[in-house]
Each structure stands twice: as C-alpha cells, then as structure tokens.
C-alpha cells in the first residue's frame, strides 16, 4: 500500500501549475524573439565605457575628471599602469559578456521555439550582436573564453580555456559571414542591424585579423551598395539632427526618456560617456555641464592640418569658447583646455535625472568614412589590392574635410593612418588602431609591448577560474 502511495506522490510534486514563463519555455512566437532581441541590443548602450576609456587609453585624450583619485580605474588606464584590479575593465568585461549572454540566449533557440517567416532575420541579428560583443572583448582582452554553443554556465570558468585572439576573430567572422546573408539592406526599425552594418563589421574584423583581401572585398561591397554616402556637413554628423544619417552604417541608440542612477550605469538608456566627457561646472550657451573626463591632448590638436574643418567640430577649445561667449567652467584634473566636442552634452534634451547619465547622443559606431579608410587600408595591405582605389577612398574623406587630395608625400599607408586619427578622434578607435598596427609603443607614453597589447583579465575572473583565465603579462 505504501509503495503505491509513494509512487503516486512522486508524480504529484511534478505537476505544479504555475502560470510562470521562464527562460526555457519562452520562445513561442515572433514577438518573443523580438522581445529577447531588444534585450540583446540593450547592452550596446553599455559600450559607452569602451568608447570613453578606449579613447583615454590612446594618445588622443587624457583621463581628466575632478581629481587624480576620481575614477581611479580610468586614471590608471590613461597612465598605462592599470592592473587586473580595475573597476572599469571589470565593467567592460561583465557588460560585454552580458551582451554575449543575451544574444546567445536567442541563438540557443535558433532551431527550437516557434517557427515563423522571417525568423532567420532575428537569428542573424543575434549573431551580429554576439559578434559585436565578442569583438569588443577580443579587442580589449585579446585571449578570451568563448563558447560556440549555448550560454556560459557555472563551472565553465574552470573547464573552458582561453581562445587566442586570432581564433576569436575567426569565430566572430563565422557568425558574421552567416549573418550577412539573412540581414535586410534596410533595417526593419531604425537602430537594428542591417546587412551593410554586418558587412562593415565583418570587414573590420578581417582587417584586425589581417585577412586584408577578405576585408577589402566586404568593405567594397558596403561602399558599392550605394546605401551610404559621406555626410557633406561634418559638423552635422554629431548633432541630434545628424543621428542615423546617410553616413551612419551602424549607430548605437541612446535616449533621454528614462531616468538613471549611478548604482546601475549599464541600466541607463542614455549615453553615460557624454556626461562624463562634459565640461566641468559649465554655465553658458549650447553645451551642458559634465565631469570633464576624456579631455583631448595638445598632441591630437596638433595632428590636424591647417584648414581641416574637422578640428573645430571634434575639439572644443574651452578658453576660446569662454572668451567668445562669456561661458564659465571649472578646471578639473589634467585640464588641457580642450573638450571632446563630438560627445559632450548639448542643451535641449529632457535632462531626465540624473541628467549627467541620460544624454541622448547616439554613438556613431561605424561611420561610412571609417569604412572608406578601412577599405583603403585593406587594399594597400592586400597582395591583390587596388592601390589607386585606396587613394580614391582616402581623398573622398579628405575632400569632405575641406582638404586637398593627398600630397603623395610619404607612404600612402601612413597617410591613411593619419587620416583615420583625425577623422575618428574622440570616437574610441585610435588606441586599437595603434595596437593592431604596432604603433602604440612609439605613440603612447608608458605603453609596453606585448604587455599592453591586451588589457588584463579582471582579477575576479582569475579567482573564479582558478587561474584558468589570466593574462600572464600582468
């Protein structure tokens, strides 16, 4: 009798009826894929940290802030004396892997879950996003753990070894190669990934992976698609009206519609970097106040040729501005007199609290000018490349900036490097350009190679993985 009761009761505990959707029974309709995809896009907003700290790491900008102890993690990176115990590096690691996690969650249900027309578009976007996050991780940390099937689970940190940066790039390429075929040329909604965005990112990864021929191919496809052109007014690009403009291949969307706090910066829907970059205690026209981080150096100001219209767009000379407008401001740490004008707060947004964290400035992640310059670089480095085309691409960018064609002095490659720096200053690319082209040792004070080629894996991860995940150069 008891064995009977016993066997009955065993099933009894499995029959609970709770109207609860959990992650394993979620994907039941197209809406569910769309909703999960929003979750995966969400983490793009946390890349503000990568952009800001990446720029500070280069010779383009200094750390700034209130004092030398304001955000020590950022100060250390500026001085190239960062260690595995660095709060900002930990944020980048955690947030980019959170993005990987959310994108992979959708990919786990690529074949399971609801079937519907157009599902491949969602899968392709998820692959694009996973590639985006992994690419950030590979740029920053070099050799990282990756998992091709499914999300990471507890215990993986002890069993999954680090994958070399090159192999990570190979893995990202395979995600993107698959994604480009299923992405539409026009995004279903502004902000979502297009085929052009995936091709541009793929071309960029090839370039980083020194597959120049493939890079040139992909980037040429983007250029020849006729979906993008250079915005004629360089200044417009970084203003609200210029958001998602003709030259924007992929753009991270930010909003001032929702409040945010310091306890969860990654939760903000705004561009946190903009407030951090802002003019300290500013009072005056056009701009809004901020925390005076990421201040451009004299070195980058001097890099502009005479007559380059981009200088006044990219760099705000605060003393001149104050003199001109009567604006007032305070002097912060490592004050240079310059601000990163592309990404400092503008007046006129909703100032949702904390207003320093909710600036709505989109981040133009991949611009058409960037694509042209990457394509030019790929062509030069590729044995089958087209030198003449490379020069054309370069000159298109120069002409838009109000400059003459390249003067043929020195190497074309160096001219492209120079052009990349001034075209893309303040946008978080320069450090990684210097590293991948082995110029960082010369250009960045305190930079040691190979040590500083990769940032250190956070100390917490070293502990959790029992030294399985460690960058031994630190």
């Amino acid at each position: 009798m008891f064995s009977l009761l016993f066997s009955c009761s065993e099933g009894f505990t499995d029959e609970t009826s709770v109207f609860q959707i959990d992650s394993e029974n979620f994907f039941n309709s197209e809406d569910d894929y769309q909703n999960a995809l929003i979750g995966a896009y969400d983490l793009l907003q946390s890349t503000y940290m990568n952009v800001m700290v990446g720029e500070i790491a280069s010779n383009n900008t200094s750390s700034g802030g209130e004092s030398a102890s304001d955000n020590p993690g950022i100060q250390q990176i500026d001085d190239m004396d960062h260690t595995p115990a660095n709060a900002n590096l930990k944020n980048i690691w955690d947030w980019m892997y959170a993005g990987v996690d959310r994108a992979t969650y959708i990919l786990e249900f690529e074949n399971e879950g609801a079937e519907f027309e157009g599902k491949e578009q969602y899968i392709a976007e998820a692959k694009f996003l996973r590639a985006y996050y992994y690419f950030e991780l590979a740029k920053w940390f070099g050799n990282i753990p990756i998992k091709s099937e499914g999300r990471f689970v507890v215990g993986d940190e002890l069993t999954i070894p680090l994958t070399s940066q090159k192999e990570v790039y190979d893995f990202i390429e395979s995600d993107l190669e698959s994604a480009v075929n299923n992405l539409a040329e026009q995004a279903p909604q502004i902000g979502r990934a297009t085929q052009g965005a995936a091709r541009a990112l793929l071309g960029k990864v090839y370039l980083y992976n020194e597959k120049f021929n493939l890079a040139a191919q992909q980037l040429d496809l983007v250029i020849n698609s006729m979906n993008y052109e250079l915005e004629s007014d360089y200044n417009l690009i970084f203003e609200t009206e210029g958001e998602n403009g003709v030259g924007s291949v992929f753009e991270i969307q930010y909003s001032d519609a929702e409040g945010a706090g310091f306890d969860c910066l990654q939760c903000s829907e705004g561009n946190v970097a903009v407030g951090f970059n802002g003019i300290r205690n500013y009072s005056g026209p056009l701009f809004d106040t901020g925390f005076s981080f990421n201040v451009p150096t004299q070195n980058v100001v001097d890099a502009f040729e005479n007559g380059d219209v981009r200088l006044d767009v990219a760099i705000l000379d605060i003393d001149a501005w104050a003199l001109e407008t009567g604006a007032t401001f305070a002097v912060g740490n490592k004050h240079t007199g310059y601000y990163n004008r592309k990404y400092i707060p503008r007046q006129g947004d909703a100032d949702t609290g904390d207003k320093n964290l909710t600036n709505p400035n989109n981040y133009r992640a991949i611009r058409f000018a960037d694509v042209l310059l990457m394509a030019a670089e790929a062509h030069i480095n590729s044995p089958t490349g087209n030198q003449a085309l490379a020069e054309t691409y370069l000159n298109r960018v120069r002409n838009r900036a109000g400059l003459e064609n390249w003067n043929q002095v020195g190497s074309l490659l160096n001219a492209i490097y120079q052009e990349r720096r001034v075209e893309l200053v303040g946008e978080g690319h320069h450090f990684f350009d210097l590293v991948r082209t082995n110029r960082a040792v010369n250009d960045i004070a305190g930079f040691e190679s190979p040590k500083n080629n990769f940032f250190p894996i956070p100390s917490e991860e070293i502990q959790f993985s029992n030294n399985n995940w460690i960058n031994n150069n630190y």
Binding site: F2, L5, S9, F12, T13, D14, E15, T16, S17, V18, F19, Q20, I21, D22, S23, F26, Q34, N35, A36, L37, I38, G39, Y41, D42, L43, L44, N91, W93, D94, W95, Y97, A98, G99, V100, D101, R102, Y105, P145, R151, F152, V153, V154, D156, E157, I190, G191, R192, Q253, Y254, S255, A257, E258, C264, Q266, C267, E269, P458, E460, E461, F464
Partner: protein, 1015 residues
C-alpha cells in the same frame, strides 16, 4: 464488557460471603471547577471490586467495611478514602497537570512525558488561561525555555515572530505550527480554545523533515468528553490600553536653542529670533498616542454522549490601537467546532474546524516592497514623525516650505490621510479516521486543510504636506488586492505497539504525507479617485493610468510528498530509544534536486525505573536523554528557475521599447537548509515531584544557508540590467547554549497553594563559514547612507551591527591633530565631533575601520512565573527578560531642524562640556555615520502579566447552577525595566537589519477586568 462486569459482580458476591459489606454511594467532581466527572474508576484496594461513575458522576458499590476506595481519573490526582460507614461520599479530585503522566504530542502520535527522549516543552490550558493572552503566541513568551517572541509592531493584529533556540537562518526562522494535525498559524486561533501546546525543540522534529528545523509548535485544541453533560463556559474581559512610554523630547524652547546653535555654528543666520515668543509648543506624542479600549468575549460549550462528543466555541475580540486609535483597530471573530464520534467500536472519526474573520487597520500606508506586508515603522512612519516634527509648528500646520526634510511631515496630517483596510477570512481544520482492526494497531487517515483569503484596500489621496515630501501624491490612487491561500495535507499513517517478554516495548509508526499549497494573488490600482475621498476609493470608480501595467497577479504552487517512519523501543521503561527517518520530495527545487532524507535518533535513561532506585528517596524522578539528527528548513524555493524579469530597453525608431531578458542567474543546485541538532538533557524531580528541574545543552549547526549576490564569473551575464548574482547555499551557522528550568509547587491540596518557576536560556550564535568568505550585507541606517550596517559574516553573530567605534568627543583642535585623520569619512572634523577608533591601526580612519558594534540577539532569555491561591483568591505573575542585546536608535533624522531626544541637552558646547553627545551644527560632519553612539543596550525585564482573581464560593453559586464564577483583574505589560531610550526594547524585525528602531509601535499596557463563568 458485559461479561467482565458480570464477573466483577460475581466476585463481589463471592467476597461478600465472608466479610461484612455495606452499600456505599457517592459522587465525584473536579475540585477546581466543580465539573461532574463521569467514568472515574472507583476501585477497592486489595480487592477485586471496582466500578465507574455514571453520567452524573455518581457511583454505588458494595464494599467491606473499613476498606479503602481509590478514585482515579486521567488528568487528575488519584485519591484514596477509607469507608467507615455508609454515609454518601463526595469526592473532589484535583487536576494533575504536571504529573509524570502528562501526555505530549510528538507528531503523528503521543507519548507520556516521562518517556520522551527529546527536548520538549509543554504549555497547558491552565497557563494559557492564567496568562489570558490576546494572541496565542504571547502565551509562549517566558513560559517555554529557549523560545522568544518578538514583534515589529505592537499594533493590534500585528504579526508576532517566534524563534526557538535563537536565530540560525538568515532567511527564515519561523517554526512550523501544527494545529490538531493541520498546518496552521497561531494567530488564527482563539486562545480560549487551546488545550495544550507542545514545542519540539530538537532533532525529534525530524518527523517533520524539511519543515522541522526551526522547531515545531503542536497545538491541541479543546474537545468534548464522552459521557458528559453539556458544560457552558463564558469568558470575557474588557479594559483600557495605553502606551508604556513616551520619549523625552525637547520642548519648543530647548528645541529652538539647539536649532539656532546648529545654524550659528556654521556661520548661518539663526532661525528663531525670539525664544520667549515661540509660536507653539506642540507635544506631537500626546497628539498621536491615545488611551483606547479592548474587549474580548469567548463562549463555548462541550459535552458528549455514549459515542459522540463535541466542543463548540466562539469568540470576538475588539481592540483599538494606542497610536491614533481609530487608525489601528482590530476585530477578530472565531468559531471553532470539534466533533468526535465512534462510527464503530474500532473506527473513530474526529474533526476540527476553525473559522476566522478579522479586519484590521494600520497607521501607515507603507508597504514593504519585498513582503507586500503593511509596515508601521520606518523613515516617514507616524511615530518617526511624532519624534522628529518641530514642536514650534501648530497641530494643523504643515511643513510647507520643507524646513524639516523630505521624510519628516506633520503626523496629524499623515494620520488624517491614511486609509487602509485589511479583511481576512479563514477556514481551516482537519478530518481524520482512526481504525483499530486489532488491539494496538492503529491506522489513521487524515486530511488537513487551510483556506485563507484576504482583501486589502489602500487609498492614497492627492496630498501635499509640504514641498518634496515623500508622502505627497499628485494623483490619487486606490490599490486593491486579494490573496488566496489553499493548503491541503493528506496523511496516512499506521502505528503498532507490541510488548515482548513483558519488558521489551516496541512501537512503530509508518506513514505518508502529501501536501499542496497554492497561493494566488491579484492586485490592481485605480487612479483619480472621485472627490479624492476614501468613500469613493474603489477601482470601479477610478480611472486607469495611461501607461504601465496597473494590475498584477501571482500564483505559486508548492507541493510535498513525504514518507516517514519512527521506531520506538524501551526496555522496561528504563532504557528508551527512538529512531526517525523522513523522506521529503519538495516541488520548490529543481526536479533533479528534490529529494532528501532526514534522520534522527534519540535515547534516554530513566534512572528512577532502575530496580535499585528507592522511591522513597528525595529524588522522585531522574532521566537523562540525548538526541541527534538532521532537520530541514524549506527555504530557497524557486531559486533554480530562470525567470525573465531582467531589464531589456532599447531605443528603436526613436522611441524606447521594452523587451524581455533573464533576471537573476538561476541556481539549479539551490536547496533547503539542513540543521544538525544535538541535545543532551536531564529531567529531575525531587520532594515528591514538587521541585522539578530540566536542563539541556544544545548545539544546532545549520548548513547550506542561502547567500545572495554570490559572486560568479561575469561571463554568465549577471551584470546585465535587471539581472543579478545567484543565491547559493554557501553558509553555515551555529547556535549553542543551554536551557535551564526550575519550578516548585507545594501540595495543591493545601488551602494555600503556590508555584514558582524560573527558566533561563543562554544562547551563542555564530556564523561559522561562508564559502568564499563573502559577507552578506544589509540593513539601513539614517537616510542615504550605504546599506551595509548589518552583516552576516564568519566569526560573528547573524545580523551584527557593522559600524564605527567611538571614543568620546574631540575637545579641542590639538586632540584632532593628534588623532588619525577622519576626513576620509567624508567631512572635516572640528572640536565637538565624535572621535572614531582606528580599529585596523593603519593611521587613517575610514570605512575599513567599521567593526562589530553590537548585535540584536540576546545572550540570555529568562522567564519568571509565580502564582498562589489562598482560599478563594488567586494571584499570578509572569515576567520575562532578555539580556545582552543591542538596538540601534534609528528614529532620529539627520537634519538640523528636526526635534530630538532630550539627550541632546547634554551636547558638546565647548571644551569639557560633554564627552558623549556631539555638537549641534548644520555644517557637514561625520557624526551621523553609523557608530556605536547610536547603539544602545536594550536588555530588559518585563512584567508581562499580573493577575488577581476571586472565585465565588460554590455554595453561593450552586443554586444558580453555576459551577464556577470567577472575577479577576489583570494588567498586561505592566512595566519594563530597561535602559533603552526608545519605545520598546523587545521589538525587532527582520534578520539581517534586525534591531534598527525607526520608531517601533510599542506593545500597549492593558488594564483588564474579566469574568470566567462555567455552568
């Protein structure tokens, strides 16, 4: 039966052949309440003559002259009377409540107390009647060693927390409550319906497996007796209630002086120019504390026929609050029916049904976001405001220009704008069939049920009590909710007794239990209530919000299936051993992780049963016992589940859209806590059982405590918006200590009878391990300070206070200069500021110098109870104490203009003026950081109940057919001896973060007059 009777009669007849016999008649009653006692055994000593009393307690017997009659009846002391002639004998039997024959409920069975091998406490009917508690739980305080009750509020109907042998879990310490076999709660029973309460404190609770670790409280309610006439009983009391304490605050002038001084010291203009002409001197405490009324009526009748017995009880309690009495009143109605009937000679049916209906109001609308319960304390609570609001404001004057900060507003305005109702209905009980196919084999089948609904409504009118006040509402809204709980337990168990060779006694119990507990919640909000009035506050009349969801629902379904067994053996009642094993399957955990076994073993030695023991010795009873086992605490439910509560928000097409993302990282391994319980004890009785001593050593090691925010690799995605770190079973705590109880009573047959008892529990709590050494942090102090003031950390008690240690006040600049810099704490230091101790000795005072500055867990619990009766008078007193605990003074708002305790009259005002209370200033200081300046010793001794009663002589009442008529007066919560400044040193709430007093609603003092009437 007939045959036996015939045999007896026959033998009587035979006996009478050769002795002079007389025919004797008589009547047997209970001595205390004059109840008729049917079924009393009347036996002639040394002869085979016996009978039982009939329905009216009468008997008739033919006995030899000079023979001795022995009257025995379960629950009464046996009495012997010599028959000298044939005058009718009227016998009165005395209750035998504390005899060794007491029966205790041990879960799926009963046991004679002298055979119990575990640590068990028993509270009987008489104690409950004497204590006359409003809530059943209050009868356990001070009467059960090792048990403590605490409450976050003295508001009528507020929840009472019970801890048995201390706090061992950081998640849940509430004991399991079983009422007549169903899972119940103490607050839904009328104390007058309770027959006895048994508390299982050690590994004996393993019979309840995964639910037994916090101890088990087994309540037996009153039932009728077979073959007894109907008895009616009416008990009532009524009285006045008042607060036991008002805090000593500053009056208007003292207040104005300090406010001026604060501003002046920072170089700001003073606020009050003319101290002799202040607008008001309002005593806010006087305005919010009320004298209020309480009354309780309880009526029951019981009786039984040959096969059936019944008990029916009903009660009504009306209790007003003592803080704004109309805003915190409580009404409770109960009806209870117990019915027992013999369907066949060997098949018995019994049932208990208990109905509850209550309605309650509370003094604030504050809703705890975690529990959904209404809370009556906290920043912005009404008592907090009564303490902090400026005395210079008039009764009807709001702080329009925010002079006093966002969290402080006029408590009277707050009271006038607080609207809430909570109505509850419950029906609970059990039905059981007991079948005895052969002697000593019992099969029981039982269904326990509890269905409970409550509905609540809270109205938040449009309100503006001053600029930026947190209580302000720009849009009126009404929140309505319904909760339904359905809990069923189906249990079957079989028990068999067997004695071999007359000395080997075995008893085996084997059973199964299936439990289903379904909770449903529905909640909705309506906006823009018509006319902004409570009378129209209904969702039906209100509008919807334009965005966001306005209704919520929740359903949980928890199931258990269990099998259990217990084997008891004793050798001639001398050596006792009992083994328990329970297997639980709980749906709260991952399917692969649902099964656990809980074993325990207990043993005892009854020395007094040894053949060498001389019963004439001073020691009349001596038993040693020990128990060890594992018991569970079913926390950690649903942590294995990956839920989709994460934040997924992104801008697409220029607008923010919401999606779906995973929330906290699930932990598929999450499981219950397991407690390894050891108990070694001794029971001793001396002087004819008059002096009793019970002593126990105990040690509970609790493993797999849930540690939230357990750090894991970032690759798992825990740092995504709305996600979080997992909760894992990673901690161990240990509670150890001893319990000691001594009681003495004289022979209650005397005219003057008395009893005294004292119990003491020493308790030491320590967290012994947390994997990875990550402290669990929590608690909150003041406004805007880091929520890391209460911690669970290895080597310390759970929830100890984590703050800075102070060392007096800096008297001058030279002292500051000589001391390690305190500037890293956030503000510069000036003379008159608190001097903190450089605990880690690194030459700088900062966050790293925070340390253990006290804990809310008492080192000692005590109970002291005494009573005596002389002729018709009776007297009782109950007191309890907690020693070695601390409470944080957290009802002070850190704002220069608020009112404060008169403690601040002794503030530092210049060199040598004070070495304890810092200066008054508006400039930023470190003085308000959490430090031991705010930690007070809250040890206390409370006289919980004093009662004097008078029972009218029976001669007077008999003619009215009244068997008992007693009147009494009592004072509950008469006085509390303590040095604690706040309202109530006994109040507490929570586990990590416990002991932070933000203005606890004090437990009222009650002056009662009552009547007990039996007829």
């Amino acid at each position: 039966m007939k045959k036996i009777l015939f045999l007896i009669l026959f033998m009587c007849f035979m006996y009478s052949m050769h002795a002079q016999t007389i025919s004797i008649t008589g009547n047997v009653k209970g001595a205390e309440d004059q109840t008729i006692l049917p079924g009393v055994n009347v036996v002639v000593k040394n002869a085979n003559i016996a009978t039982v009393t009939d329905f009216d307690g009468n008997f008739r017997l033919d006995v030899p002259i000079n023979s001795v009659l022995e009257f025995s009846y379960l629950g009464f002391q046996t009495k012997s009377i010599q028959v000298l002639n044939n005058t009718p004998i009227n016998v009165e039997l005395l209750y035998d409540t504390e005899s060794l024959e007491e029966v205790v409920v041990i879960g799926y069975g009963t046991q004679q107390k002298k055979d119990v091998t575990g640590a068990v406490s028993l509270v009987d009917k008489k104690t409950i009647e004497k204590l006359n508690p409003v809530e059943v739980a209050q009868a356990l305080q001070g009467t059960v060693s090792g048990l403590a009750i605490s409450s976050s509020s003295g508001s009528p109907g507020a929840e009472i927390n019970i801890n048995i042998r201390g706090v061992g879990s950081n998640t849940d310490n509430e004991p399991l409550v079983i009422v007549d076999g169903y899972r119940g709660e103490l607050n839904s029973i009328n104390p007058n319906d309770v027959a006895s309460i048994t508390v299982l404190k050690d590994a004996q609770a393993a019979i309840y497996g995964i639910d037994g670790a916090n101890g088990v409280i087994l309540v037996t309610t009153k039932r009728g007796k077979k073959n007894s006439k109907v008895k009616f009983s009416y008990n009532t009391y009524a009285g006045l209630q008042e607060t036991t304490k008002k805090l000593d605050l500053l009056n208007a002038v003292e207040y104005a002086v300090i406010v001026n001084e604060s501003h002046a010291s920072n170089g700001d203009p003073i606020i009050f120019d003319d101290l002799s002409n202040l607008a008001n001197d309002t005593d806010w405490q006087d305005l919010i504390f009320d004298r209020s009324f309480i009354q309780n009526h309880s009526f029951n009748f019981s009786g039984g026929g040959e096969k059936t017995s019944y008990f029916v009880g009903a009660s009504r309690l009306e209790q007003e609050g003592i803080v704004t009495k109309e805003n915190s009143d409580y009404v409770r109605n109960t009806v209870k029916i117990a019915l027992d009937t013999d369907l066949r000679k060997n098949l018995k049916f019994s049932s208990t049904v208990n109905y509850l209906n209550s309605s309650r109001k509370t003094i604030t609308n504050a809703v705890n976001q975690d529990t959904g319960e209404i809370e009556e304390f906290g920043q912005g609570g009404i008592l907090f405001n009564a303490i902090s609001f400026s005395p210079t404001f008039a009764e009807n004057q709001d702080d329009t220009f925010n002079f006093l900060g966002n969290e402080v507003f006029n408590p009277i305005s707050q009271k006038n704008n607080t609207f809430n109702d909570l109505d509850s209905n419950g029906l609970e009980g059990s039905f059981s069939l007991k079948y005895e196919p052969v002697k000593d084999l019992e099969i029981t089948s039982r269904i326990g049920f509890k269905t409970f609904n409550n509905s609540y409504k809270r109205f938040f009118p449009i309100l503006n009590l001053g600029e930026s006040k947190v209580i302000n509402e720009t849009r009126s809204r009404v929140l309505e909710g319904r909760n339904t709980l359905n809990d069923y337990t189906f249990e079957n168990f079989i028990s068999y007794k067997k004695t071999l060779a007359e000395v080997h006694n075995f008893q085996a119990t084997l059973g199964m239990s299936a439990q289903k507990r379904v909770f449903d919640q529905l909640e909705g909000t309506g906006f823009d209530v018509p006319n902004n009035l409570w009378e129209f506050a209904d969702i039906d009349l209100a509008l919807g919000a334009t965005e966001a969801r306005e209704s919520n629902s929740l359903r949980t379904d928890q199931r258990r299936s269990s099998i259990f067994g217990r084997l008891q053996y004793d050798f001639n009642k001398r050596y006792l051993i009992s083994a328990i094993l329970r297997r639980d399957v709980a749906s709260d955990f991952a399917p692969s992780n649902r099964v656990e076994y809980f074993p325990s073993i207990t043993g005892g030695w009854n020395a007094t049963e040894e053949t060498f023991w001389n019963t004439d010795w001073t020691v009349s009873f001596f038993k040693l016992r020990a128990s060890y086992g594992e018991v569970g605490n079913a926390v950690g439910n649903d942590l294995y589940r990956a839920t989709l509560g994460g934040e997924a928000t992104y801008e697409l097409d220029g607008v923010l859209v919401n999606g779906v993302a995973n929330s906290r990282i699930p932990n598929p391994e999450a499981k219950w806590e397991t407690v390894k319980k050891l108990d070694i004890g001794a029971d001793l009785k001396l002087f004819d059982n008059r002096l009793a001593i019970v002593a126990d050593y105990f040690r509970d090691v609790r493993e797999d405590l849930l540690i939230g925010n357990f750090p894991v690799s970032g690759v798992l995605g825990a740092d995504a918006p709305g996600a979080g770190l997992p909760t894992v079973n990673a901690g161990t705590s240990r509670n150890r200590g001893f319990e000691f109880l001594i009681s003495y009573k004289n022979n209650s047959n005397k005219k003057f009878s008395y009893n005294v008892s004292y119990n003491l529990t020493y308790l030491q709590n320590e967290v012994t391990a947390i994997n990875g050494d990550i402290p669990v942090i929590g608690g909150s102090f003041g406004v805007g300070q880091v929520e890391d003031v209460s911690r669970m950390e290895v080597g310390e008690p759970i929830g100890y206070f984590y703050g800075l240690k102070t060392d007096g006040i800096f008297q001058n600049q030279a002292e500051i200069d000589a001391h390690p810099s305190q500037n890293n704490l956030g503000a510069n230091t000036a003379p008159g500021d608190i001097r903190f101790v450089d605990v880690n000795g690194d030459g700088i005072i900062d966050e790293n110098d925070k340390t253990n500055i006290g804990d809310p867990i008492p080192d000692f619990y005590m109970g002291f109870n005494m009573g005596f009766s002389y002729k018709q008078f009776d007297f009782a007193m109950y007191a309890n104490a907690q020693v070695g605990k601390e409470t944080v003074r957290n009802y002070e708002r850190d704002q220069a203009n608020v009112n404060r305790l008169d403690l601040y009259l002794d503030r530092w005002t210049g060199e040598g003026t004070s070495n304890f209370v810092p200066r008054a200033t508006t400039s930023p200081t470190n003085n308000r950081l959490f430090s031991d300046f705010y930690v007070e010793d809250s040890s206390f001794l409370r006289i919980q109940n004093v009662q004097i009663g008078y029972t009218f002589p029976q001669e007077l009442t008999e003619s009215l057919h009244i068997t008992k008529f007693r009147i009494y007066t009592s004072i509950n919560n008469l006085y509390t001896f303590t040095e604690y400044i706040g309202y109530d040193p006994a109040a507490s709430t929570g586990i990590i973060g416990a002991g932070f007093d933000t203005g606890f609603y004090p437990v009222p003092r009650q002056y009662l007059l009552g009547v007990n009437l039996n007829f």
